[in-house]
Amino acid sequence: MFKKVLIANRGEIALRIMRAAKELKIPVATIYSDADEEALHVILSPESYNIGGTTPAESYLNIEKIIETAKKAGADAIHPGYGFLSENGKFAKACEENGITFIGPSPESMEVMGDKLRSREIAKRAGVPIIPGTEKPISSLKEAKEMAKKIGYPIMLKASAGGGGRGMRLVFKEEDLKSSFESAKREAGGAFGDDRIYIEKYLEEPHHIEIQIVADKHGNTFHLFERECSVQRRHQKVIEESPSPFIDDRLRLEIATNGIKIAKEVGYFNAGTVEFLVDKYKNFYFLEMNTRLQVEHPVTELVTGKDIVKAQFKIAAGEKLDWKQSEIKQNGHAIEARIYAEDVLNNFNPSPGKIIGLINPSNPGTRIDTGVYQGFTIPIYYDSMIAKLLSYGKTREEAIERMLVALNEYRLAGVKNNIVFHQVVINSEIFRKGIYDTNFLNNYDYKSEIEKIREKNLKNIILSGALIYKNMEKKISFEEKNRKSGSTWKISGKIESIYKNSFRLLY
């Protein structure tokens, strides 16, 4: 195995990787930006290095600095996690040139599959169906208009280098094309340093279904079945599950087999995800391949019992996986709820800030991968996803009930978050029945469901507020009686002191 691994990431995924490395007895070092000096992935790491900066570009995307740090730390391997440099071919090459094992696929397969257009070529070659769309990036608005007309609205604009919903826009009519095209380009440029955009046909009632691939360097390519990722907001996944309630075993196996075809076509090794869109008629189309660990990988770990991150380490070290495809089963059901620091009622605006209260749920059949702790201030510079809550059950129904109990017991105060949103969505009839597609959240009125819950709480909020103020009053009287030197105090200082020392309120 490796002498030491440097984890070139932050938050919950850095911790997930750290734990896998610890299980394998690989010494671990982490990096952190100036904004992450007190982050959980640093505090729980045995060894860590400041790489300076605050923005991703200055820190977690800074290839030179990271390679230099790996050398300083004596690391002979780097795990990139997801996001940041995980799909950056230059970074993988820089690792190679410096004698450091990049825990991921070969730079070549990464580059081919990282480019949406080239990856479509691969799919064609492998005989896997693809979605109608542009063969190369669109250079001008005019070209976009023509193409859109040709394949017909609705269409999707997508960042060529993209992922995670950034640089992605759904366009229903020509009037909206201009503003969407421009903002998609701007967002793509900002997020990936590559503002190329392409166009795709938008399918009817599409499901986002993806196949988890794990392949070693000895030609053994396995699938770990599918994940259903159709519950999306702002084109970003928020809830994932496995198995998919939409497909049957025959289709499941067919899609999985097509996933393996793609992976084999590029000689892929490492963990990877082949994403498909499946329309209402159960036609499936290759969408893209993510050549890295996926946010939602734990869903698959829970149902298959396979540790995907430990497998990544073993593969990178050249080990042969002693798995048999026939022994890999979907056992039970798992659901993941992504926990974002965001204002659900206000267009999902990010809500960074200080976490003043936190109780992570620890119920039977739940797992939480979190990157934060009580007292931590969530920085403004990075993704608003701060944790992933997972539930597991023998049946889908059991997994749903366990998730609802866990969400109910979750405490995360100080930043607005989407926990109540998950409670509402997972408890909805559509989700319970498993009859949603990617349009689900565009049509479902989660806002009024949340309002109902808020309404139900109202009397308690009134009582809580009044009691806190009552307490405040008492303390003021007390302070007034006891302070003889009151006149020398500035009024503002007094109020400050009352808040700080008597009410014991935090900010």
Binding site: N349, L407, G465, A466, E473, I495, Y499
Partner: protein, 169 residues
């Protein structure tokens, strides 16, 4: 004692009296009962309303005597008006920002789409802010003429920072 409580902009009333170290509440609809509040940790509270239990967090917000309550993973912004808190408010001199547009979250200004002296419509985009990798459009809360723009592209701002000021109507 009667309290007037403003929750997310709406007003409510509650009567709260202390008797033998316990609190009795009464709502305008007649519902009354016994209630107690314990502070488990700094800002962490346990409310007992009869036999029912509620666990929540609370924190001070700004300087105007407002608090934020996080209950059942919902967040509520609260002001209380009574004799005392009216004094408090007077002392602290909170200014209402009807003519100002504040940053809804900490973040970075991507672009400023208006300039000083410009007339804007309600809901037109004033600025674009980036926070946590997402672009957020800051729209105008009303129509009017821009008096001052406090930020420029590339600036980092805190939540509640003044972004734009209008001339008074």
């Amino acid at each position: 004692m009667k309290y007037e409580i403003e929750i997310d902009g709406e007003n409510f009333e509650i009567d709260l009296t202390e008797r033998d170290g316990k609190f009795i509440y009464q709502f305008p609809d007649g519902e009354r009962g016994e209630i107690s509040l314990k502070e488990l940790n700094k800002g962490e509270f346990f409310l007992k309303r009869g036999s029912k239990n509620y666990h929540f967090y609370s924190a001070k917000k700004g300087n105007g005597g407002e608090i934020v309550i996080s209950h059942g993973n919902c967040t509520y912004e609260i002001k209380v008006s009574d004799y005392r808190s009216k004094i408090l408010k007077k002392i602290s001199g909170v200014e209402e920002n009807v003519n100002k547009v504040l940053a809804p979250m900490p973040g970075k200004i991507v672009s400023v789409n208006i300039s000083e002296g410009e007339e804007v419509e309600k809901n037109s985009v004033l600025l674009v802010m980036e926070a946590m990798k997402m672009e957020n459009l800051i729209k105008s809360p009303r129509s009017g003429k821009i008096k001052k723009v406090y930020v420029k592209g590339g600036d980092s701002v805190e939540a509640k920072a003044i972004l734009v000021e209008f001339f008074e109507e």
